[in-house]
């Protein structure tokens, strides 16, 4: 596959997509934005249709359209005018309907449209790789720079707001990043299946760990393996690349579900290693505390014990 230029561009583009989608996937899964991702990805059909009908690069129009839809989802749900899933359902179907009407009016039911719907290994050009690289850089930068804010927002929005986290910026930033990630992934994976890339890796990671750092690492690993293996299968069997990537991703998810009951054992092993590493560099008590003039390191004498642990989620 790599002896062909299209194979190289597809692989490089695919790896960039895998990293971005997997990072995004973590927040989508923990913030329960999977339906939003699905809605935005299907809305991309409307954006692609606008481009095809107007004779403009469909990726450009899809990007603008998806950002608008993402903003609409955010605005309606934050204003409390409608539930998030209701507005997603409305915008998603209206965008698809717009796309169908425009495609019919432009008589554009052709191979090009099919490649947008199902993805194609041949569709990724070097210019696409360049656009992908820039958008990947932006998306990864946003997520890394605002990681702790995103995590706090995803876990407890109200307290995050009370702690000065710019939740509106973080929320809209997340939605816009999801929209752009979806758009750049369309060529390889296709509109219909792109939402899988932003949901399955996070779900796979969550099966393998309960530590968010490891969840993200496992998400990225599963996405990278899926893209590499999926592209090879697509090339070998001449099948749409989106379908093969998603099927490999699903297979990895099933394996992760199978491994999941043994997760606590794996994590215990990893923790042991980490503890062994940390020995000697342990932080001494009371050193460097910034909690103010009161000695906060002193334990409070109460009747509390830690023996009343109730394990609600059975490992």
């Amino acid at each position: 596959m790599l002896s062909y230029s299209f194979g190289q561009t597809a692989l490089i583009g695919g790896l960039l997509i895998a990293i971005t989608c997997a990072l995004m996937s973590f927040f989508i899964v923990v913030r329960r934005l999977a339906f939003a991702g699905m809605g935005i990805s299907h809305a991309a059909f409307g954006g692609v249709a606008i481009g095809i009908a107007a004779g403009v690069n469909p990726i450009v129009t899809a990007a603008g359209f998806c950002v608008l839809v993402a903003g609409g989802i955010g605005w309606f749900s934050r204003k409390g005018k409608l539930h998030e899933d209701t507005i997603i359902g409305i915008l998603f179907s209206a965008s698809m309907a717009l796309g169908i009407v425009l495609i019919a009016a432009a008589h554009a039911y052709n191979q090009d449209l099919l490649s947008y719907l199902f993805g194609s290994i041949l569709a990724v050009a070097w210019t696409d790789v360049l656009i992908l690289a820039i958008l990947t850089l932006l998306a990864v930068a946003f997520m890394l720079l605002f990681f702790k804010e995103l995590l706090f927002f995803a876990f407890d929005e109200e307290t995050a707001t009370a702690s000065g986290v710019p939740v509106r910026f973080v929320y809209y930033g997340l939605l816009v990043t999801i929209a752009l990630t979806i758009v750049v992934s369309i060529k390889l994976v296709g509109i219909i299946l792109v939402s899988a890339l932003i949901v399955i890796p996070g779900a796979t990671g969550l099966q393998l760990s309960r530590n968010y750092r490891r969840v993200i690492v496992f998400s990225i690993l599963s996405a990278v393996i899926s893209v590499v293996v999926g592209l090879q299968l697509s090339f070998s069997f001449n099948v749409a690349s989106g379908a093969t990537i998603v099927l490999v991703m699903f297979a990895l998810f099933l394996i992760a579900v199978g491994i999941s009951p043994r997760r606590s054992y794996m994590e215990a092993l990893l923790s042991k290693r980490a503890k062994a590493k940390a020995q000697g560099s342990e932080v001494s008590q009371g050193e460097g505390s910034t909690l103010g003039p009161v000695d906060r390191a002193q334990p409070i004498e109460t009747s509390l014990t830690v023996g009343d642990v109730e394990t609600r989620v059975d490992d």
Partner: protein, 280 residues
């Protein structure tokens, strides 16, 4: 009732100097009115929170207690009236948020959200760490100190969703305390806990308040819980019904008026309320 217009700005000034000593009044709320969606939620609320005071805010469900906390935090803007927190209006507090700890009523998180107790408490350090920065050694130490203070040592690596309700509340308390907290705002932190867990939480809170010199605003619909621990109590049901010492508040007929029910269970024979005299 006529609504007074905003009559004065907050007295801007540093409430905490380098020694940690501050002015007496930390929260000053005067004639605050709040409307949400065109409906009055709070009407003419006035009270102050002094340094190291434990203020209990009681009222029935839907009385506007949570809204009152949200007003103090700057999450809801009052329609009229003055809110001063550490000498500033709440939306000017950005640089002082590390002095305020907040324990929300309920955190509706996914039980499998992959964060440990340590990670959750570290979230409380967000205003100390600063933007585009990673947690430093001192932040990690502060987190461990807070976990130890609330008695959760040994559980710091447990998934937050795996803890019992009482332990989760203590983890959220640790999150509120792992900054340079001076004002602690708690919204029904004992709701959903059984009586022993409520008692444990209140004992812990009282000890922490004394040890750390905290000023506490504790919102609850449960008069019993607060009557035993608060220095002063405010009873609201959209408007102010009572403000005074727990003994005065609990003994007042206006409390029953605010709740629209009688408190036989509270002041009946055999009930014991330390610090409450003549509570009948």
């Amino acid at each position: 009732m006529s609504r007074p217009r905003k009559n004065h700005a907050c007295k801007v000034g540093a409430y905490f100097d380098s020694t940690g000593e501050g002015s007496r009044v930390l929260i000053d709320i005067e004639h605050v009115f709040v409307e949400l969606g065109g409906q009055p939620v709070l009407q003419d609320i006035t009270f102050t929170l002094n340094d190291r005071m434990f203020l209990g805010v009681i009222g029935p469900n839907g009385a506007g207690k949570t809204t009152l906390l949200r007003v103090i935090l700057g999450l809801v803007k009052p329609t009229s009236g003055t809110v001063c927190v550490m000498g500033m209006e709440p939306d000017e507090l950005k640089g002082e948020l590390h002095h305020i700890g907040y324990v929300p009523q309920s955190v509706l998180f996914d039980p499998i959200f992959p964060v440990s107790v340590y990670d959750v408490v570290m979230m409380g350090r967000i205003c100390c760490i600063g933007r585009f920065r990673f947690a430093k050694k001192s932040d990690k130490q502060a987190v461990m100190d807070s976990i130890r203070m609330v008695g959760l040592e040994g559980l710091e690596q447990r998934l937050i969703g795996e803890l019992s309700g009482g332990q989760q509340k203590r983890a959220f308390l640790a999150r509120a305390l792992c900054r340079e907290t001076r004002i602690l705002l708690l919204d029904e932190p004992t709701s959903g806990l059984d009586i022993p867990a409520q008692r444990q939480f209140m004992d812990l809170l009282t000890d922490l308040k004394e040890r750390l010199g905290l000023s506490v605003v504790f919102v609850s619909h449960d008069v019993n819980v607060l009557a035993q621990h608060a220095d002063e109590m405010v009873c609201i049901n959209r408007s102010m019904h009572l403000h005074g010492k727990p003994g005065d508040v609990v003994g007042s007929e206006r409390l029953q008026e605010a709740y629209r029910c009688e408190f036989d269970f509270l002041v009946g024979p055999g009930a014991h309320h330390p610090g409450i005299e003549g509570g009948h």
